[in-house]
Amino acid sequence: MTTPARIDAAPRSPFQLAFRRLLLNRAAVAGALVIVVMCVSCVLLPILLQLDPNHTQPALRNLPPSSRFPFGTDSVGRDVLARVLVGGRASLLVGLASTAVSVLVGVSYGAVAGFYGGKVDDAMMRFVDFLYGLPYMFLVILIMLMFSETARGEMLPVFLALGLVQWLTMARIVRGQVLTLRNQEFVQAAELLGASDLRILVRHVLPNVVGVIVVYATLMVPSVIILESFLSFLGLGVALSWGQLVSDGVAVVNPIRSYWWLLFWPSAFLGLTLLSLNFIGDGLRDALDPKART
């Protein structure tokens, strides 16, 4: 007579299990909430409150925060609150779009390299290794300068340029995952059944890589936003973004009046958003691979 150990009755997919683990991570949940609130505020509040980031009122310039201007005004009298919120739209959008570009390019490249392996993989990864060590901002700056006259302050070139910078990490990671999966038996089984390479890649391999892609994509968004802020600082970024606002704030720092609110608010929003994204990314990573949890 044996008393069997209790068996869990309801089977759960790995994704569901991961999701539950994620929900237990308070930092990640808090981060997610912050991001949602941030996105909603940046998109809706300016419309609801009828805020105009470009309305200059020189008579009201450089005012510290008050009830009328909760974030103060800048050097030409614009409402800093409005500028921060509207600027947020650009920064967040840049983050998302550039990451999307990176993911697209990186996943394709990495999947091909990992799937075919051998010399093909060798050659492709050599290339990636090389690019990895470059100060890519160099080339990004050049690219931005290329467009500076025709499309100054426009977003598309920024998306592309920044996206092309980040795809390397994604390619590396996807390639590693695909390489491992490639040799698993279920892939070999599919091959034996006569499935085409593309089909195997898309239906069997990629679903297992999705988790990792999501984790790293989430962690990529903050770096892209920071890179955009670098570009803005050098005068090459999007016309109105957090990076630009911070850069403007830094420019007016002087020993007599610090105009701290011009620097503080955009920095705070920027930092808070990035912190939240990092929490979410870390949380996702822990949730998807608890053995790697440290």
Binding site: M1, T2, T3, P4, A5
Partner: protein
Amino acid sequence: MSQNAAKDALQVRDLSVSFVNRDRTVRAVEGVSFALLPGEVVGLVGESGCGKSVTSLSILGLHEKPAGRVSGSIRLGEQELLGLPNAELRRVRGNRISMIFQDPLTSLNPYLRVEEQLGEVLELHLKMTGQPARARMLEILKQVGIPGEERLRAYPHQLSGGMRQRICIAMALLCNPEVLIADEPTTMLDVTIQSQILDLLRGLRRARGMSILFITHDLGVVAELCDRVIVMYAGRIVEQGPTAELLRRPLHPYTEALLKSTPRVEVKGGGELHPIAGLPPRLSGEKLTECAFAPRCTRVREGCRGAEPALETTPDGRLRRCVIPIAEMLERS
């Protein structure tokens, strides 16, 4: 317990180890007592999770920290080891009691050469460096069957599995320990290498008068090497006795089942395998209300429930924790 306790090389009395994991307590070892005579090889047998590894690790204080509770007594000759401050305990480790582990590849530091890893021990315990240290290393290596200087400069990944385990054994012997604890040292090696290592250990024991506590789940190895066997189940000792006797006439249903489940070459083709059905219990620390093995025992009966059987000594000096009469156990099917 042996007759003359003062002559024991190692004496473990009433050892209990529990771990606290978030909100659960796990009693890995419960009231374990045994002794090793000088020069004796004692086998510690049981399935995974029975507590044999934890027992052996606790002797040197190497168990997982933070530990829940460790109670009882562990004496090395005259010295009490349990509760000893770390600084003192470190002087015993690798020096008077050495330990070797299961996987020789991961047990050695892949980034350091053999001579560096061996040299550390000599430098630390015997204050030996330079030429005399090197001489001693070479001498020990010869004793474990690795002649020649080239191996000293090698990295672990450049050596074969058998050689690595010999290096681990050599490392354990450098300071002439009184006791060697071997935690499944042959499990990861293939059978031919396995027998070489066992031969080596046999020879060493004889030459040095060193006691060996040999932990394994493989009864075949036990039969080859050990003088005495201790069988553990669910953190407790369930049987103990001289090897030949115990293997031929087991006095506990668990030992019996273990023996039956070992596949034998002599059995004609078509014989069934006899696994032990079920899983070992989860030990959460409450007192047992029945024999730990009862759920899986083929000979279970009324008397097995109600309270946990006590460990008793048999007339011929063996130990067993079972209410089934000896005579009944001896009339085997």
